[in-house]
């Protein structure tokens, strides 16, 4: 049996080491690969060029596939049409507070679920993870009632309060912390280190990929969250960017504003795109880890 395996490996080797020539099959794979990139990219390309077009060019039939006279005028006008700057700051505040809170609660809970033993631990863990699959729309009505009866309707606190914890974050952290060697933690305990100290000084430094993954995930999730702010907020000055953008969308019926709407959509997408692109290597691997095992 072992000889067969060896022969098999030897047969494999020449093709592995040698440079592959461009066979028709490989060429076809590259064509598919280019298509696989072009289809997700095209709407993003369209977003960019549409925001650079002038109102006249926008209404042309058939549309131009490249702006004839690119102008950044729409990008400044969007701040005049709607309170875009204020909304941007609102989104930054909501996203920042929720992300930090999710990070802290997830690391703390993930550590307990990964490294402590107590009766009912696994049942409790699965109950928490189960909420990951609960669509927020299911609890929208009681949540609205709950937050309103706390007097927090139409406040920043009301927007943020239900989202300070996230089951996915706990799951992610538990997965990563389980891989931290027990010996490391035991050694610190023998040295007399307290649990919080062990967590912040020994475990947390090893969790960099997990922290980056979770932060990218929460920034994307809370920046884009639409349903809850729509339900709980009334004052436009507290609107996050996605709500202001939806108000801006109503302007697209007028040909004068279509490039402005596009510019708004582009600006609102930049923070999440930037965060993702900066951290993409770590993030894609981290997200991947939640789906296997």
């Amino acid at each position: 049996m072992s000889t067969v395996t060896t022969t098999g490996r030897d047969l494999q080797r020449p093709t592995r080491r040698g440079r592959r020539r461009m066979t028709p099959g490989r060429l076809a794979l590259y064509v598919v690969l280019v298509l696989a990139a072009a289809i997700p990219l095209f709407p993003l390309y369209w977003l960019v060029i549409a925001s650079l077009k002038g109102p006249q060019e926008f209404g042309r039939i058939p549309p131009t596939w490249f702006p004839m006279d690119p102008s950044f005028e729409a990008f400044s006008r969007v701040f005049e049409v709607v309170p875009f700057g204020q909304s941007f700051l609102n989104s930054a505040l909501i996203t920042g507070v929720c992300s930090v809170s999710v990070l802290i609660t997830s690391v703390l809970a993930g550590y307990v679920f990964a490294k402590y033993q107590f009766r009912g631990r696994d049942a409790l863990f699965w109950a928490v993870i189960g909420t990951m699959f609960l669509p927020p729309i299911v609890t929208l009505v009681p949540l609205y009632h709950l937050v309103s009866s706390m007097g927090l309707s139409d406040t920043y606190a009301g927007v943020m309060l239900p989202w300070l914890v996230n089951a996915f974050g706990i799951f992610l952290m538990r997965q990563f912390i389980a891989d931290v060697p027990d010996e490391l933690i035991d050694a610190a305990r023998i040295d007399g280190a307290g649990e919080l100290r062990i967590l912040t000084r020994i475990v947390l430094p090893l969790l960099r990929p997990a922290v980056v993954t979770l932060l990218v995930f929460t920034v994307v999730y809370y920046w884009n969250n639409f349903l809850w702010p729509l339900s709980i907020l009334q004052s436009e000055d507290k609107y996050p960017i996605v709500l202001t953008l939806s108000r801006l969308l109503s302007y697209s019926t007028s040909v004068q504003y279509q490039n402005v709407v596009m510019a708004g959509a582009l600006i609102a997408s930049l923070p999440t795109l930037a965060v993702f692109l900066l951290a993409q290597r770590v993030f894609v691997q981290g997200i991947a880890r939640t789906g296997v095992k």
Partner: protein, 316 residues
């Protein structure tokens, strides 16, 4: 869902059992205190903002209540709200549309994602890392922004899709303005947005399959297609189940594009459950009926999960 996790980690602390020395005993007590302290922020928040509202959804669904009056004014109506769900034509349309939307999304997304993941897993294919990033990028863009672009792409006459179609001599199906194509237009939008996320999950699943299995198959003379069908797909099963469940969970709650683009129309053709719930509660002030709809959505989700887990058990 158990399939996704390794068996729970070996803990280092035994909170139970007799401690060997008195010193160990105080250590255990200290650990127990730490465990309670570390867990309580997450658990209290989940209890107050997820568990309690979930029970309340069911309770409210048995009452007549406008959300804008005190909750003490609720009138008990038993299962009347559920009767309204299964007899009201709007609600029935929402149920039907949601099932169609979820089924179509899964049926298009999963095969496409598997093919793309296999493509991105072909060794020594240049640029596959870049393509993976591009595919995933659509997932991080706010849905509202994507809605804005796609409403332009789908636009009659001045939109690029219709322009291309008319250049090719094909009549536009009318996309979002036609009752028979509006829902599928939203499915295409959904597939475009979410595909990259599932591709990343599937590529991760592919990397878990040991290389030796493929080598053994090659020795037995299996070609690439045979290897994919007999090795890759069966060994990818756990990831496939996870991806399927995530597709269902994500698409069953579609709200943003419906609210922003179609408001459930034309002719109720894109009225889905989550949109119907929001409208019934916040615009029509029928919180009981909305909660019955919400609970129906949850039941639908549980049914899918039950069927999947039963199918899994039979095969193992």
């Amino acid at each position: 869902m158990t399939v996704m996790l390794e068996s729970p980690g070996r803990g280092t602390i035994r909170a139970r059992g007799v401690p060997p020395t008195a010193r160990r005993g105080t250590a255990v007590k200290r650990h127990r205190l730490a465990a309670v302290g570390f867990l309580s922020p997450a658990l209290v928040l989940i209890l107050v903002f997820i568990a309690v509202p979930m029970v309340m959804t069911f309770w409210i669904s048995l009452h007549r209540w406008s959300m804008f009056t005190p909750i003490t004014d609720m009138d008990w109506v038993g299962l009347d709200n559920y009767r309204a769900v299964v007899t009201g034509s709007t609600h029935l349309a929402a149920l039907r549309n949601t099932v169609v939307y979820v089924a179509l999304s899964a049926a298009i997304t999963i095969p496409l994602a598997v093919l793309l993941a296999l493509l991105l897993y072909v060794p020594r294919l240049r640029g596959r890392g870049l393509v993976r990033v591009i595919l995933f990028a659509t997932y991080v863009v706010p849905t509202v922004a994507i809605v804005i672009v796609w409403s332009n792409l789908y636009a009659p006459s001045y939109g690029p899709i219709d322009a291309t179609l008319s250049a090719l001599g094909v009549t536009s199906p009318g996309w979002l303005s036609n009752p028979s194509s509006a829902l599928i237009s939203l499915v295409i939008f959904n597939v475009w947005q979410m595909l990259g996320y599932y591709v990343v999950l599937l590529v991760a699943g592919l990397t878990q399959i040991p290389e030796e299995v493929y080598e053994a198959a090659r020795i037995d003379g299996a070609g690439p297609i045979r290897q994919t069908v007999s090795i890759t797909i069966p060994l990818l099963r756990n990831t496939l189940v996870f991806v399927f469940l995530m597709t269902v969970v994500n698409s069953i709650q579609v709200f943003d594009p419906v609210y922003l683009l179609t408001q459930g129309g034309p002719a109720n053709s894109t009225n889905v459950l989550s949109f119907d719930i929001q409208r019934t509660a916040f615009q029509n002030g029928l919180a009981g009926e909305a909660s019955a709809l919400a609970f129906s959505l949850l039941i639908l989700l549980c049914l899918v999960a039950a069927v999947v887990s039963k199918g899994l058990r039979r095969r193992t």
